[in-house]
């Protein structure tokens, strides 16, 4: 287990490690209202690794994802995707990223296949057929009869599967998941965990923000606990083997334990 409070500017830190797909280097974000949402975050997610960020609301998890997606510019440090600095080359960085949001909201008047087609095309996958889309939708567990249904008739679990299918079809080396299991029923949650395992097997680097300690422990290779914009704890699965993660999490959240 290591404390993530790192020194700010070691030159060797900025060398590109080819197996590192997602990397935050002293990444900071202070909003215009003065709130420091992220304070010198350093983390790495390698190919074939799942990194789960735990933390309460406002801890900085979504800000981290927004910075990787370049929805916002950092006020300090860098977010890199496959070695590409997101705020300098956002389009290039995004072509290496797939993203699944907490509430997958696709175009409600489109069918699952039409949504797949649109998102595949804007991801640069132009040569695919509806059969290819159907195959991926089957793979994520969306039944064939739902493929031609409009998204407005889908349950949250079905939409989530569609979102994963869109992330899969992009076939990007890095995947960002923002609270992906929130609101899913146990069956859908289970299926989702299986899908994540498959992504790992395919060598994807997965960065996931979640409140779900139990699923994080089940699937993640690396777990980070965030509090007030800082990564207060980062530990590998093995390091946490004998620990009560829930207790640890509560201690960090209550402030009784500090890095």
């Amino acid at each position: 287990m290591k404390n993530s409070e790192q020194s700010l500017s070691h030159p060797e830190k900025f060398k590109v490690d080819t197996s590192v797909m997602l990397e935050a280097l002293d990444l900071s974000k202070r909003y215009e209202d003065g709130v420091l949402a992220l304070d010198r975050l350093n983390l790495q997610v390698r190919s074939g690794q799942i990194f789960a960020m735990l933390g309460a609301n406002g801890a900085g998890k979504t800000t981290t994802i927004n910075l990787f997606l370049n929805y916002i510019d950092p006020t300090g440090g860098e977010a890199r995707v496959n070695g590409i600095t997101t705020h300098k080359n956002p389009l290039q960085a995004k072509s290496n990223l797939s993203y699944v949001s907490e509430n997958v909201t696709l175009y409600p008047n489109f069918t699952a296949l039409q949504n797949m087609d649109f998102f595949a095309r804007i991801a640069g996958k132009n040569g695919l057929s509806y059969a290819d889309y159907a195959e991926i939708l089957n793979r994520v567990g969306l039944q064939t009869e739902a493929h031609h249904k409009k998204l407005k008739d889908f349950s949250k679990g079905m939409r989530q599967k569609c979102g994963i299918a869109i992330a899969i079809i992009k076939d990007a080396p890095a995947v960002l998941l923002d609270e992906p299991t929130a609101g899913l029923d146990p069956q859908a949650g289970r299926e989702f965990i299986d899908l994540l395992s498959r992504l790992r097997e395919e060598g994807k680097a997965v960065l996931m923000s979640t409140h779900d300690i139990f699923r994080a422990r089940e699937i993640a290779d690396e777990i980070g606990i965030m509090s007030a914009g800082r990564l207060v704890l980062q530990a590998g699965k093995d390091e946490l083997a004998g620990e009560d993660l829930e207790k640890l999490y509560m201690e960090y959240m209550s402030g009784s334990k500090q890095n």
């Binding site: 929805y71 916002i72 995004k94 072509s95 993203y99 696709l106 640069g124």
Partner: protein, 470 residues
């Protein structure tokens, strides 16, 4: 990428409930406006022909051209039935005199006031009121609506340049909403042909320009709504703003412009001018009566010679009096016209900050039903008056009714006087303003509509480049 986004927009809109519900309604209204316009033209054509026949019929049996009461009528124009403008407000009937001032009377609204209350379902109304709201409905949530549903966040998780996205979106929305509107317009044109409405080549060109102006106006509101959706956070806010702009542009600004123009130039009322003319005429008549009292006929003993001398004297008085009245009336009319021009120019200049006014003015100018129509009809009538005066003079031996009295000596003899043939009257051929003249009038407003499009397009584009897609 651009093409993908355009296709997505087209699909998204055409599959939406609001499109499936509102498009047939808009299409129906457009087709209905063409049909109603066609029927209105046919009815007016029938009324016009009846009025012409009635005018000739009332002359039957008259034996002296001096006694003729001749009327000319403004013929109905096909485009005036589609864009009414002031066509129903102005007098369509002028009593013709060989000399003197002419005045039009009997407007359609004075005959059928119920139409004045509710107006007509013409193309100008459909575009400026109904289709502008239709445009708002399809644009108000173009950007912030996608943010609200979360699709914008997902789209921009991909390597999508913002410039291409907003251009694709604007193009997609414009194409999806405008092209289907052209179909009922084409159907409307077909209806006009089937109803055998006598449209000339010029009329078709003018109609296509009116439709172009309508499309430009429609796209102003579409681009304005997209712009508002890119500068506001929630779609309900952008809808409210777009609605406020529509209310101001369509209902408030034109009325305020007229009020302000009324303050800028105090135009005397027509009744006031008429009273001044009447007073002047009475004064001249009183002077002439004194001259008449002083008139002594030549003492030849021959009543015809005496009558001819009196006739010459009276004709001379009448001509001089008429010249003075005409000069005075011309001066009063010119003064009023100048003030009216100032008032109109002020009203139009102010109202032109509204795209609704730009469209209405352009459509009315192109249809020939703008505010100039009344003057154009009077000018045409005055031009006809010259040939009518010539004709009448030839028929009456130089006598022109129109100002004052005409005295004739009627000799009783056994011969039955011949009745006049009303068909000998010169025909009044109304020439509508030419296409190039109408285009000159409409050009500024068409240019303003283009300018509004460019402003809102640039505004929406620039706003989206800074838009927070989270």
């Amino acid at each position: 990428m651009f093409k993908t986004i355009v296709i997505k927009e087209i699909r998204d809109i055409t599959k939406s409930k609001k499109f499936l519900m509102s498009f047939p309604a808009a299409a129906l209204l457009i087709i209905l406006s063409f049909y109603v316009g066609g029927r209105w033209f046919q009815l007016n054509q029938h009324r016009y022909e009846a009025a012409l026949a009635g005018n000739l019929r009332q002359m039957e049996g008259i034996t002296d051209w001096i006694m003729v009461k001749h009327h000319i009528f403004l013929p109905p124009q096909p485009l005036a039935a589609l864009v009414n403008g002031v066509d129903n407000d102005i007098g369509r009937n002028i009593e013709m005199f060989g000399q003197g001032e002419l005045e039009s009377g009997d407007s359609r609204f004075s005959d059928d006031p119920v139409f004045a209350m509710f107006r007509f379902l013409d193309i100008e109304f459909i575009f400026s009121v109904v289709l502008a709201l239709f445009a708002i409905m399809f644009g108000y949530n173009a950007v912030n609506g996608e943010k609200e549903t979360g699709t914008l966040r997902l789209v921009f998780a991909n390597a999508v340049p913002k410039e291409q996205f907003i251009l694709g979106k604007m193009t997609g929305v414009l194409l999806t909403v405008i092209i289907p509107l052209l179909l009922p317009i084409l159907a409307g044109c077909l209806i006009l042909m089937l109803m055998r409405i006598p449209m000339t080549a010029d009329d078709w060109i003018r109609l296509s320009l009116i439709v172009t102006a309508g499309i430009l106006y429609f796209s102003v509101f579409l681009l304005l709504s997209i712009f508002l959706s890119a500068v506001t956070r929630s779609s309900s806010t952008s809808f409210l703003f777009a609605l406020l702009v529509w209310i101001f542009a369509t209902l408030i600004i034109p009325r305020v412009a007229v009020l302000l123009a009324g303050r800028a130039a105090n135009v005397p009322a027509v009744d006031e001018i008429a009273a001044q003319k009447f007073s002047f005429r009475s004064q001249l008549w009183a002077e002439d009566v004194q001259k008449m009292n002083r008139f002594t006929p030549p003492r030849t003993g021959n009543p015809r010679e005496m009558m001819d001398a009196f006739q010459r004297f009276m004709g001379d008085l009448s001509r001089k009096r008429n010249e003075k009245i005409m000069a005075y009336a011309k001066r009063l009319n010119e003064e009023r016209r100048n003030l009216q021009n100032l008032q109109e120019t002020t009203a139009f200049s102010i109202s032109r900050i509204s795209p609704a006014s730009n469209f209405s003015l352009a459509a009315m100018h192109l249809a020939g039903t703008s505010i100039e129509l009344k003057q154009h009809f009077l000018d045409e009538a005055m031009s006809y008056q010259q040939s009518y005066a010539k004709f009448l003079s030839a028929k009456t031996g130089g006598l022109l009714p129109g100002s004052g009295m005409v005295f004739r000596l009627i000799e009783e003899d056994d011969e039955e006087p011949e009745t006049i043939n009303p068909h000998e009257l010169p025909v009044f051929e109304y020439k509508p303003a030419t296409l190039s003249a109408l285009l000159d009038y409409a050009f500024f407003d068409l240019a303003m509509l283009v300018l509004f499009n460019l402003i809102f397009f640039a505004g929406g584009y620039a706003a989206f480049l800074r838009y927070d897609v989270r």
